[in-house]
Each structure stands twice: as structure tokens, then as C-alpha cells.
């Protein structure tokens, strides 16, 4: 082993308690940033699942006027053929077709304007898992029921909050009244089979799910749909980009039957720029946390290393006089900081792993009442938030602690390298 490394290691233990305390402070900073990244992994994981899997998909194909106008007539034809072509794309994990509508939904006593979404349950189960919006339990022991059956049976699933507004329960019947594609009045009676609590505030308060054949019948849309959404094989930008490139070639003839319209292919970040911004915020927020935590770590290291260098002024002068080049002196100090940071990284990884395990299994209660968590940007989080685990939750803090220690030691190291041997040896 190089003699400078041996000296650095032993120097660390000359003031063992001071080194250990510094390492412990560094380790605590590291464990803290590991837990914060873990909580971000958990929270942004929920946001991602909700936004991409349930709300947006990676890419949506619509009539070019639908995204802005959301018109009843802005439809796609031959959706079955489009879906089977999409299933064959390697960049695609799956695709679903949806029908959208507005209706007055109510009982004989109460009613509300509601957004209706028509889905094909068997396809959704494999792709968007929209079935998960019906939770396994609801506050006060209310039975949440189940999602729609695979075959159209005039069933309806409505938001839990909407059900409370309408004062209805599972098994009750609801009447939907709307204008159909021919300008007539469409109306039908549906049986409530499930209640959703998805975290998507809009759907939970004023939304309902129908089998898409039932909704097509209500709106007199025959076999037209409003939207085909595709989930990419992964969230990676290049996979979604590859999917976007492949889609134009996959569109069947006659998809759009308006002469003055085209098919719109929109990635999720264009459909909901705010959602995209929120997902991007994660990187910035995480970076800020790392900067603050490791800025503090660096201050501690500067202090320890400056003291260590000052105490050894004479010794460093002697080493220089014996012929160690200034660069060697820099390395001697940096080795010491490196070893200190590796010690801290070891302790910090253990501490951090323990905290992450706690956050993943026990989590943090965030109940703001009635079993609901905090709401943010149209998303309601669960009442207990759990941490996630990722490679970066370990790698970034370890790199952070090592790099900040080396950076912080650079100043004392350069100071040591500039020592004049004659003056240094004379120093007491």
C-alpha cells in the first residue's frame, strides 16, 4: 500500500473521536438524503402511476380537434384495427380505446353533471389497470364494490365523493341524460357496481366509468371512439420517442373521416404540461436537497481538515523538506478526506438502508381527515405515504458524501502544499 495512504489512515485515528464525530455527522447527512430520495421515489411513483398509467398514457391518438374542443363528433373510426396494429409495435406495452361524454346523472332527488368515460375493461386490466381505482376498502366500512364487468351490462362505477353527493350506494340505480350524436336525447338507467377513490380528484368528485359499448349506445356513436391511448414499454425518453416516431406509420386508412381534420398524436407532456413540470420538479427538488445536505457536510469536513493540517504544519514541512512534491502533499490531505468520507459512506449506507426499510414498511402517516392524504395539483395522495427504493437513493448520497469531502479538503490541501518548509519546520 502506498505510504501516503497508510499515513492518511493513521492520521485519521490520531484524533479518533474527532474523525468519528465528523464521519457520523457526514453519515447522518447521507442517511437523511437517502430517506428523502426514498420518499420522493414513493411519492413520485404514485404520481407517475396515476398520471401515466391512469390519467394520460404515454401517447394519445385523437381526432385533431378533440384535445381542445372535446367534441362528441371528433371521433376515430376503425379503432379495433388501430388497436391490433398498436399491439404489434415493440415500443408499446399495450393500448386502449376510450369514449368520452358528459351527462346529467342522478336519482329522482339529486343529480349532478358528470364526466363519463367508456372503457373496455378486459383491455384496461392488461394496460392501465383502471380497475385499481376501486380501492379494497373505504372509510367507515363502506363497501367499494368492484369495477365494471368485461361484457356490457349497463353497469356504472362512480367516484366515492360523487356517490356521497348524490347519496347513493352500491346497487342503486342512476339515470343518465345526455344529447346523442343525432341531436336527440339519450337516456339510460345504470346500476352502481363500484365506487372509485383513485387520487384523481376530478374523477373521484365528478366522474363515472361505463363499459364503452354502453356509452357508445347512450351517445349513439356506433363503433366510434374518442381516444386511443398507448403505454410505452418504459418511461425512458428514447422509448417514448421511438413510439412517437413509429405511430404515424401504424394508423389505418379511414381513421379520421372528417375532410378537414387529421389524426393528432400527442405525448403526455403535451397533453398535460403541468403534469410534466411536476415530474420534472423531482429532479430539481432532489438536487436542492443534495446540495444543502452536502454543503453542510462539506463545511464540517473543511473544519476538520483545516484543523488537521494546522496541527501538523511542522510535520508537513518536514515531509516537504524530505522531498515530497507539493502535489504529493495535496494527495496526502485528499487521501485523508477520502478515507474519512468512505468511513462515513459505510456508516451512512447502513443508517440510510435502515431508514429506507422503515419508510417502505411503516411509512409516514399523512391523514388530513376521513382517510384522505394531502392533495396536490389535482392528485390526492393516500393517507399513509411509503418510501420507495432505487439505485439512485444509494448512489447519489454516496457520491455526494465522497465528492463533497474531496472538494472541501481541496482548500486545506492546497494550503498545506503551499507551506514553506523552513517556516513550517520552525512553527510550533
Amino acid at each position: 500500500m502506498p505510504i501516503l495512504l497508510i499515513m492518511a489512515w493513521r492520521n485519521l485515528w490520531r484524533h479518533g473521536r474527532r474523525s468519528l464525530l465528523t464521519a457520523l455527522a457526514m453519515a447522518l447527512g447521507m442517511a437523511m438524503s437517502m430517506s428523502i430520495i426514498s420518499m420522493y421515489d414513493g411519492m413520485f411513483g404514485i404520481m407517475r402511476t396515476l398520471m401515466i398509467d391512469q390519467l394520460l398514457g404515454h401517447v394519445q391518438i385523437t381526432h385533431s380537434a378533440f384535445p381542445t374542443r372535446r367534441g362528441l363528433y371528433d371521433t376515430l373510426h376503425h379503432a379495433d384495427e388501430l388497436l391490433s396494429r398498436l399491439d404489434a409495435l415493440p415500443q408499446s406495452r399495450g393500448a386502449v380505446a376510450r369514449v368520452h361524454g358528459q351527462a346529467l346523472l342522478g336519482t329522482e332527488h339529486r343529480s349532478a353533471g358528470v364526466r363519463l368515460v367508456g372503457v373496455e375493461p378486459s383491455r384496461e386490466l392488461a394496460v392501465t389497470k383502471v380497475q385499481d381505482t376501486v380501492p379494497s376498502s373505504l372509510p367507515g366500512g363502506v363497501d367499494p364494490g368492484r369495477f365494471l364487468a368485461d361484457e356490457p351490462a349497463r353497469e356504472i362505477v362512480i367516484g366515492y365523493d360523487l356517490a356521497r353527493d348524490l347519496r347513493v350506494a352500491l346497487g342503486d340505480e342512476l339515470v343518465a341524460i345526455t344529447q346523442d350524436a343525432y341531436g336527440g336525447i339519450g337516456n339510460e338507467v345504470y346500476t352502481i357496481v363500484g365506487l372509485t377513490r383513485s387520487g384523481d380528484e376530478a374523477m373521484d368528485r365528478a366522474g363515472a366509468w361505463l363499459h364503452f359499448s354502453d356509452l357508445q349506445a347512450l351517445l349513439a356513436l356506433d363503433d366510434q371512439v374518442h381516444e386511443v391511448r398507448i403505454l410505452a414499454a418504459s418511461d425512458a425518453q428514447d422509448v417514448v420517442g421511438g413510439l412517437l416516431d413509429a405511430l404515424p406509420g401504424a394508423l389505418p386508412d379511414g381513421l379520421i373521416q372528417d375532410d378537414d381534420a387529421t389524426a393528432a398524436i400527442s405525448p403526455w407532456w403535451d397533453i398535460d404540461p403541468m403534469a410534466a413540470q411536476m415530474m420534472e420538479m423531482r429532479g430539481i427538488a432532489q438536487f436542492m436537497v443534495l446540495v444543502v445536505v452536502f454543503g453542510l457536510v462539506a463545511l464540517g469536513v473543511i473544519n476538520t481538515m483545516l484543523m488537521s493540517v494546522l496541527e501538523r504544519t511542522r510535520e508537513l514541512g518536514v515531509i516537504k523538506a524530505l522531498g515530497l512534491r507539493p502535489r504529493g502533499i495535496v494527495w496526502l490531505v485528499l487521501y485523508e478526506a477520502l478515507l474519512l468520507s468512505l468511513l462515513a459512506a459505510g456508516i451512512g449506507t447502513l443508517l440510510g438502508a435502515g431508514l429506507i426499510a422503515y419508510l417502505m414498511t411503516i411509512g409516514i402517516p399523512m391523514d388530513v381527515g376521513e382517510g384522505e392524504g394531502i392533495g396536490f395539483g389535482g392528485i390526492v395522495f393516500p393517507s399513509r405515504l411509503y418510501g420507495g427504493i432505487s439505485v439512485e437513493a444509494f448512489v447519489e448520497p454516496i457520491l455526494g458524501v465522497v465528492l463533497s469531502a474531496l472538494l472541501a479538503a481541496l482548500l486545506p490541501a492546497l494550503r498545506a502544499a503551499r507551506l514553506h518548509p523552513v517556516d513550517a519546520i520552525r512553527a510550533e
Binding site: I3, V318, L322, G323, L324, R325, P326, R327, V422
Partner: protein, 227 residues
């Protein structure tokens, strides 16, 4: 050719508004194998001359040539290299590296030179035996007496077979007997191995042992006697 050639060497320090002439236009040749003592009262310039010969300090004027190399022509890094490869130092206050054992201190310069571990360990044990510290190789400086520490310092200076060993008041912190033993040791190394020594000293015992005594007064050579 002399191993060290000093010509017109001056060193002036600025202390506030005062200029202190520590050394004034000194000319000096040291031949290989000489055992030279620099003597003189405090402030006469002994340590300054030693530091300039060792490349630890830069002159105000004049030149120092060690084995044909003019130190003024060297960068700071190259002066480090010269000290490591060609010079040995013994300081007044021992100045061992406290975290290293006696053997590790003795082999320190060899380690900086990149000599393989086994080879330098063997050499360190040999020089420690030479200075009478056989069996104490694994002790840290804190576990050694002052005399033993200074012997380790001599061993460290010797280990690299330097052209010149520069020793600044090596006996100043030692009691009389220990100091005497150390001088005997260095004298023996000089006669037996031909090592070149230059001392700065007040110690009459060193002066007795020296074969050449140079007396400095106010930064100038006052006397230069070979015995």
C-alpha cells in the same frame, strides 16, 4: 570537483522595515567525504546557509551548485526531487513522522522514491541496525527516547545513500552522553562509508569531531580550518 559549490551567496530577510542580512556573499566548496561543522553565534547565518544548500530556501543573490546542478535553475518540484534523491536531512527537533514506526520513518524517503516495499524494508532494518536500534524497528517515535529518535532521524537521512547529509544542531536536544554517542556514530559513518556531512552546531563535541570547522560571523565566513 567539489560536491557542493557556493558562490556569492546572500540571503536578506525583510523584518518589517528592517532588512536583516543573514548571509553576505559567501563562497564555499565542500568536497565529497568531508565532515564539516558550521559554527558561530546565534544569528550568524549557519542555519540559513544549510537551508540554502538544501534547497529549502531561495537565495537573494549568488548560487548553490550541488553535484553540478545549479539549484536556481530548478523548479520547486525539481528541487523537491533533488532533496529526495540526493540529500539527507537531520533536524534539531528530530522531526520524525509520528504515525510511522521507526522502520517506516527510516524508509520514508525510499518510499517516496518508489523503491519496492521489500527492498526498502530491508534497507531500513540495515540502517537502523547501523545506528544501534536493532529490535526497535516497530516502535513509534512516541515510544522512543530523544536519543533514539535522533538516531532514527540519522537512519532516515542515511537510508537513501545521499550525496550530502545536512544536519542542523543534531545534538542540541540531547544530553551530553547521548549527543556524544550520536557524533561518534556519524563520524564512523563518515570514515567507514565516506558519507559527506555538513553540520550547523554550537556543540564543542561536534567541533572536536569535525575535520573542517567553518566559523560564521554576521553572515560572513570568518575562519575556515581543516584539521
Amino acid at each position: 570537483m567539489p560536491i557542493v559549490t557556493v558562490r556569492g551567496l546572500s540571503r536578506t530577510y525583510t523584518r518589517g522595515e528592517h532588512k536583516v542580512h543573514a548571509l553576505r556573499e559567501v563562497d564555499l566548496d565542500i568536497e565529497a567525504g568531508e565532515f564539516t561543522a558550521l559554527m558561530g553565534p546565534s544569528g550568524s547565518g549557519k542555519t540559513t546557509l544549510l537551508n540554502l544548500i538544501g534547497g529549502l530556501d531561495a537565495p537573494t543573490a549568488g548560487s548553490v551548485v550541488v553535484e553540478g546542478t545549479d539549484l536556481a535553475q530548478l523548479s520547486a518540484g525539481a528541487r523537491s526531487d533533488l532533496r529526495r534523491e540526493r540529500l539527507g536531512f537531520v533536524f534539531q527537533a528530530y522531526n520524525l513522522i509520528p504515525v510511522l514506526s521507526a522502520a517506516e520513518n527510516a524508509e520514508f524517503v525510499l518510499a517516496l522514491r518508489g523503491v519496492p516495499a521489500a527492498e526498502r524494508r530491508e534497507r531500513a532494518h540495515a540502517v537502523l541496525a547501523q545506528v544501534g536500534l536493532k529490535g526497535l524497528e516497530d516502535r513509534r517515535p512516541g515510544q522512543l527516547s530523544g536519543g533514539q529518535q535522533q538516531r532514527v532521524a540519522v537512519a532516515r537521512a542515511l537510508a537513501g545513500n545521499p550525496a550530502v547529509i545536512l544536519a542542523d544542531e543534531p545534538t542540541a536536544n540531547l544530553d551530553s552522553t547521548t549527543g556524544h554517542d550520536l557524533i561518534e556514530l556519524m563520524r564512523e559513518l563518515n570514515t567507514r562509508d565516506g558519507a559527506t556531512f555538513i553540520f550547523a552546531t554550537h556543540d564543542p563535541k561536534v567541533l572536536d569531531a569535525a575535520r573542517r570547522v567553518i566559523r560564521l560571523v554576521d553572515g560572513e565566513i570568518d575562519e575556515d580550518n581543516r584539521k
